[in-house]
Subunit: 293 residues, 2 copies
Amino acid sequence: MLKALNTIVPSEELLGIVNTGDDLTMHGLRICPDLDTIMYTLAGLNNEETGWGLTGETWRVMAELDRLGGDAWFQLGDRDLATHLYRTSRLAKGATLSEVTHELTERLGCPIRLLPVTEDPLATLFETADYGTVSFQEYFVRHHHDITVRDVIIEGALDAQPSPGVLDAIASAERIVISPSNPLISIAPLLAVPGVREALKARRGDVVAVSPLIGGKALKGPADRLLRELGHEVSPLGIAALYADIVGTFVIDTIDANAATGFDALDMRVLATGTLMSDPEQAATLAQVVRHG
Amino acid sequence: MLKALNTIVPSEELLGIVNTGDDLTMHGLRICPDLDTIMYTLAGLNNEETGWGLTGETWRVMAELDRLGGDAWFQLGDRDLATHLYRTSRLAKGATLSEVTHELTERLGCPIRLLPVTEDPLATLFETADYGTVSFQEYFVRHHHDITVRDVIIEGALDAQPSPGVLDAIASAERIVISPSNPLISIAPLLAVPGVREALKARRGDVVAVSPLIGGKALKGPADRLLRELGHEVSPLGIAALYADIVGTFVIDTIDANAATGFDALDMRVLATGTLMSDPEQAATLAQVVRHG
């Protein structure tokens, strides 16, 4: 979404507030999958073939760790590991996650400023039917999100503070865009940080959310299944209902335009356009709609 | 020394009690240079060309970390990093350093059992003339041990406990060998762990130390310079004096045989033989002398 917006908005006018609920400490290393993926993608370093990880990545360390019988299910490439070593090292020396993120974006060539939503510990946990409570990465990577979820818990949210600049950015931005991500596990942690939801409420008229469903289905990931399991309607309206207090404009895919009823009751504008951002033309149009629509 | 002994003593009759005073946490990873070097060497994985590190090593992660502007002065190869990831991960899950060491020796194919002298934090620090107090690796790797040292401090020693099995091994071993390492910085941390020096005293008649000086000089490393700077005699006798209470037999190089006086006053037997272990013949002879002499 940021990349699409960047085709019509200069980098310096964009700011990404990024979820840290997926973060994990593994092998002693602090790993921030959302920050990393966004940084790598905006820096043009993402691997377009695999759809994840870095281009030109190698797997020497993991191959060796696997040989040692270590925990190698969460694959960390050699280039990617350098990011985690850098971050862990800087944090140990007292830098904040925002500072480290700023350093990494500069050094990797990510043109857009990114802020972790909080510098405090935040963990998206899944209460599952068969595996007890599991972490985000266990759910997503280890179990390929193919297990039954009873509840999602954002651990640490109550004690977390927004990173410096987050609330100010929301208060002063011309527009605030909620990306077409999973509302229950990728957007919810952002909203759970005290102050963020309130800040968005105060700007509701300028908050635009893009539906992650196309034709009633998540393009990737478990959004549709999770919505169902957790008792929500699997539709753009079902998602909009989760954002009723904070979103003034909801963007749905043209395919779902015939299902664009019920938004009036939420006091929400609804706009329909192509939302498939792998298509550059749709991405550019979507950016225009989000920016000016 | 262990490798030389292993040519005449079966692996299962040998136990290495290893210094952990050089250990460091870097980038969040627990690194044990002495344990690692010994493990790699005994497993035949050491790089004979460079004299350190692993054979077939690559440097992808470090190259990338350097590009990010990270701390890359302490070079960690990709294969080597897997060891540190494994160890850090296992320790975080509650395994002891002895347990992790056992797992790593098995998996790497190191045939001899190794025990860290302690599982508690231990840090060999250097009070220097020009750089304040520096860690072992800063002294050794960053400054190439080319700085003036005022004192060596073994931090944490008073609160450390010997690892389970260490004191029993000393009490029950047929012979105890002190390797030809630097007495002030590589052997001193072992002796500083409460109970170890006393256990060796009780076995003094069976404790054999090998001099790290050949022709009055350290084969490698700063032993001679450090002895001088810290007010000790730079000679086999100067080293023997540091071990007077715990060593019954002192082995010196044939080259130094003419300087083999003064040991009587220490109530110490002195034996002379070739001690250059890079020469397989001298290594085998030295092993015989240490074992049976």
